[in-house]
């Protein structure tokens, strides 16, 4: 899809970007060490940098606008959702008449209509539907998401491109930075993830508290709150009445049924407070959201993206929290990496002969000084090569034991595999899960290029 003005940039380009160019063309003392100010820097960013915005919701709409006005000209946006009326209080690129249309497409169109020279490619699909190589074309991935699962997925994809050298040092050109934002009501966070250097999403997953889940027996026997009555109708009563018919939270009739069941139950127990709005809130786990918080967090993310490509100032290290409930409270915390992180960590480098079988490989792990792992099970990108237990899986994977690893890994020269088993730690055997970088001796560099790009 081409920008309407792509062929003829307006004659006013340098005047137009006067403010931004001041920042990009002048030297400074508090900038990144690699900053090379130049009047052409903005053009270079515009020409050579491609940024992916994940999510075209509250944050995504703001991000597209912010990035388009920060010198980025090649943007992609991916979102599987369509526009809902309840988005309109903050997703400023959408109008009432857009309800039902794909968010990514409408958002891309609206920004291109207004900011000449920017090209935004929309992707109306799930993030899992894209091949991994799709994500590799971007220099930065900016996340405007509201789910842990989606963040975790993109994180694992982006960290998957990271390679380490033989000294377990991250290879800079393989590190794909992410800028991640999130909001809830008057609160939000923004952070920069540079895989291999700053903590990745999995390193700090504990920052996201799990959702509160009521005990089922409380719902069934001793409900006390309106939410208990709603969850009873949702989790227990629905299945009891609608055998086999799955509940659909986006179906207004289904929601209405839950509401009236919850109301009846509340009356029965003398509980007050069941409303239709609360019913929706509890069942869909609705997170309150407003325009101003999204604007603040997205702006911080876009500014960090600009710093990442230009070096025009220092980067946030590495996690900003914003709280507007009482005053305007901003805190920046420098979290540390989990060096054993399965997703972004280096893992252990293992060199193998192309003739080594899986069973020899497992034996080798027992003696490997950094691992001392016995009873190892081995998995590679969703392929379970050998499972020690349970018996049924052991039987299904046993035949692999005599096959050379090189063959099992489809002739790749350099591969990441994960092993679990009992490893030694301070003299004790503890159950462990480890990442290994397997390098096959004497295999051509050319084939290495091939596999790293697709792994």
């Amino acid at each position: 899809m081409a920008s309407p003005d792509a062929e003829a940039p307006p004659p006013t380009e340098p005047e137009r970007w006067r403010d931004l160019d001041i920042l990009l063309s002048r030297p400074g003392n508090l900038v990144h060490a690699t900053f090379q100010p130049s009047p052409g820097l903005r053009d270079d960013i515009g020409s050579f940098v491609e940024v992916l915005v994940v999510g075209a919701g509250g944050l995504g709409c703001e991000l597209l606008k912010d990035l388009a006005l920060s010198g980025f000209k090649n943007l992609h946006v991916i979102d599987m959702d369509t526009i809902d009326v309840s988005n309109l209080n903050r997703q400023f690129l959408f109008r009432v008449q857009d309800v039902g249309k794909p968010k990514a497409e409408v958002a891309a169109k609206r920004v291109m209509e207004r900011v000449s020279g920017v090209n935004i490619v929309p992707h109306f699909c799930r993030i899992e539907d894209k091949e991994l190589e799709f994500y590799n074309q971007f220099q930065i991935i900016v996340l405007g998401l509201d789910s842990i699962e989606a963040r975790s997925y993109i994180n694992s994809v982006a960290c998957g491109f990271l390679e380490y050298d033989s000294d377990d040092k991250p290879i800079p050109k393989t590190a794909k930075p992410m800028v991640d934002g999130g909001t809830e009501g008057f609160k939000g966070h923004a952070r920069v993830i540079m895989p291999g250097t700053t903590p990745c999403f999995e390193c700090n997953i504990w920052l996201f508290p799990p959702q509160v889940k009521f005990p089922l027996c409380t719902l069934a026997e001793t409900p006390r709150t309106a939410a208990h009555c709603i969850e009873y109708a949702h989790l227990i009563k629905w299945d009891e009445v609608h055998t086999g018919k799955p509940f659909d939270a986006d179906n207004a009739e289904h929601m209405q049924w839950i509401y009236s069941e919850a109301l009846q139950r509340a009356e029965l127990f003398g509980i007050s407070g069941v409303t239709y709005s609360l019913t929706q809130g509890v069942v869909k786990n609705i997170i309150p959201a407003i325009a101003s918080t999204n604007a603040i967090i997205s702006a911080a993310c876009a500014l960090e993206a600009l710093k990442l490509v230009s070096g025009c100032s220092k980067s946030v290290l590495n996690y900003l929290t914003y709280n507007g409930l009482v005053g305007t409270h901003i805190k920046v915390t420098e979290f540390v990496r989990d060096t054993d992180c399965l997703v972004c960590g280096p893992g252990t480098l293992i060199e193998l002969d192309t003739s080594s079988t899986l069973s020899e490989f497992i034996k080798m792990l027992e003696k490997h000084p950094k691992l001392l792992m016995s009873k190892a099970s081995v998995t590679h990108e969703g392929n379970n090569l050998y499972m020690q237990s349970p018996e049924v899986l052991e039987q299904m994977t046993r035949q692999n034991l005599s096959i050379p690893m090189f063959e099992l890994l489809k002739g790749a020269s350099f591969v990441t595999v994960h092993v679990s088993g009992m490893a030694e730690s301070n003299g004790n055997k503890v159950s462990s899960l480890r990442k290994l970088r397997v390098l096959f001796k004497g295999v051509e560099e050319a084939s290495k290029m091939d596999t790293t790009e697709s792994s």
Partner: protein, 534 residues
């Protein structure tokens, strides 16, 4: 989905995600508010955009400038389908046409006039607004505007983006909050001082019941009221207060468990400190009721009339306590016990509220107002939030500039994190001072940056010395940075500053949550921004 169905369902559904935060009351306040924006650069328009989306009543943009090429590079609202059409058009008009597109429920107006001229020649213009958002104004204009707004009791929110820094400040004589909605707040359970009905109810339940189902479904409120009484009986009527006593009290609770997995007893142990909370009134609330404004008269606001009633309540019916909040948190319990407890707390809260209502009516009569001129709903909300009241007062800009609190300023300079912010604060004022002398911002011309650095430093030193801070040194790096910025309005910085400004406007208009207490200084270098209360 059919368009007709959308239109019908719209208002409630459209605002659903924000109604969950500030409710119908907050939304109604927003829809009544009228906002004036001075200067429609990106900082101001981004602030307005967020308010228009949320359904603010009306906005009026004051800006006399025309759309220039540079607006197309940093202001999304100035851009249009064919941006050549926009160039040379009134900036206010161009911005307003986009704002109107965002939400047709909002009245969008503009005045083609320079804000400076408006401030100088037509101060009464501002009295029609709820809030004035002043963006990118130099100190001299801002000072005048602050005077105008204060005299008319209008909230002023000043915002400025300047390269990688910027600020947002709130200025209003007084802002009183009933629903401050803090994140975490101790429940109002009165376990240290249970009233008769609560004690009676607790007594009606046998906490040593041998039936395991009953035993593990007895709410912790009952357990704690009963065991606190037991403890007091054995300790000269006193409740556990020392660390050792608190530990022993926990042991006493544990000794009553039938089984290790009794959730209600675990909750009782975790909540046992609630028995030992200091009774009475917090210092913050004490300050409010002791404030001279609680001596009410005909011109007092409803808030202060309520505070006056609260003061009487504490001295009389309250027996030294505030009205009861009346809600209890969820806890392991059988439904019947829990619902009974809820009713007991609600009933006491209603009694307290009734007593307050009575006092409010008497006070209103006394000061010459109609006794029903304050609504029941307002009194109820006030009672429910009596522990969370907040009064925010802001010094005028004139006071702040002319009579700085040196000790505070020095404290900020001494602190590693706020020192950066303090530097920016001084430098942003110095920039205006320099501009007043040279008729341009420092760093505007590439050729003069090197000369402007020492000039800016001189201006900054003069700001410091006017504040009585001779000898305080500024960061050379930041002086250079501010020269480098040359007043550039970078879009993401403007969006951030504008976002913070709109967030504060929402809090000020809905009178919910607590607004920014002072000046927020944005640090776009490492994002470690700070609030300075000067």
């Amino acid at each position: 989905m059919a368009a007709a169905a959308v239109a019908v369902a719209e208002p409630k559904t459209k605002y659903d995600r924000q109604l969950r935060i500030w409710g119908d009351q907050g939304q109604a306040a927003l829809e009544k508010a009228s906002i004036c924006l001075l200067n429609s650069g990106p900082t101001g328009t981004e602030a307005l955009k967020n308010l228009v989306l949320g359904g603010i009543g009306s906005v009026t943009v004051v800006d006399g400038s025309k759309v220039e090429p540079s607006d197309l590079g940093n202001n999304f609202l100035c851009n249009s389908r064919v941006n050549k059409e926009c160039l040379g058009q009134s900036r206010a008009q161009s911005v307003c046409s986009f704002l109107q597109e965002l939400n047709d429920a909002v009245k969008v107006k503009y005045v083609e006039e320079s804000p400076g001229t408006m401030i100088d020649t037509n101060p009464s213009f501002f009295s029609q607004f709820t809030v004035v958002i002043a963006t990118q104004l130099p100190e001299s204009s801002l000072l005048k505007l602050d005077g105008i707004c204060r005299a008319a009791d209008i909230v002023l929110v000043a915002a400025r983006s300047y390269g990688l820094t910027g600020l947002v400040r709130v200025s209003v004589k007084e802002h009183c909050v009933i629903e401050s909605k803090p994140d975490h707040f101790l429940d109002d359970l009165r376990l240290h001082n249970p009233w008769t009905e609560l004690k009676q109810f607790a007594k009606s339940i046998d906490i040593c019941d041998k039936d395991p189902v009953v035993h593990k479904h007895t709410p912790y409120i009952v357990i704690l009221v009963r065991l606190a009484e037991k403890w007091a009986d054995a300790h000269d009527g006193k409740l556990p207060s020392t660390r050792q006593e608190k530990r022993e009290f926990k042991d006493l609770i544990r000794a009553h468990m039938l089984n290790v997995d009794e959730e209600n007893y675990k909750e009782a142990v975790e909540s046992s400190y609630k028995v030992s909370v200091t009774p009475g009134i917090s210092t913050e609330i004490r300050q409010i009721i002791d404030d001279s404004s609680s001596e009410v008269n005909l011109s007092s606001s409803d808030f202060w009339v309520l505070v006056a009633a609260l003061k009487e309540f504490i001295a009389n019916e309250g027996n030294g306590d505030l009205p009861l909040e009346g809600t209890i948190p969820d806890m392991t319990s059988q439904t019947e016990y829990y619902v009974s407890l809820q009713k007991i707390y609600q009933a006491k809260a209603e009694t307290d509220c009734l007593a307050m209502e009575h006092r409010v009516k008497n006070i209103l009569k006394r000061i010459g107002r109609h006794p029903d001129s304050i609504s029941r709903a307002y009194i109820k909300t006030f009672c429910k939030n009596a522990r969370k009241l907040r009064v925010c007062r802001y010094r005028s800009m004139e006071e702040e500039f002319n009579a700085p609190v040196i000790s505070e300023v020095q404290k900020y300079f001494a602190d590693e994190d706020s020192c950066f912010a303090m530097n920016f604060y001084i430098l942003l004022r110095a920039v205006d001072r320099l501009a007043a002398n040279y008729s341009r911002l420092p760093g505007i011309f590439d050729s003069e940056i090197d000369e402007d650095v020492p000039r800016l430093k001189v201006a900054a030193v003069s700001v410091l010395s006017d504040m009585g801070l001779n000898g305080t040194s500024l960061s050379e790096d930041l002086v250079t940075e501010v020269c480098r910025f040359a007043g550039a309005e970078i879009h993401p910085v403007a969006a951030f500053i504008g976002g913070v400004a709109s967030q504060e406007v929402i809090k000020l208009v809905t009178k919910q949550f607590v607004p920014l207490m002072g000046t927020f200084i944005f640090n776009g270098i490492d994002l470690k921004s700070q609030v300075l209360a000067l």
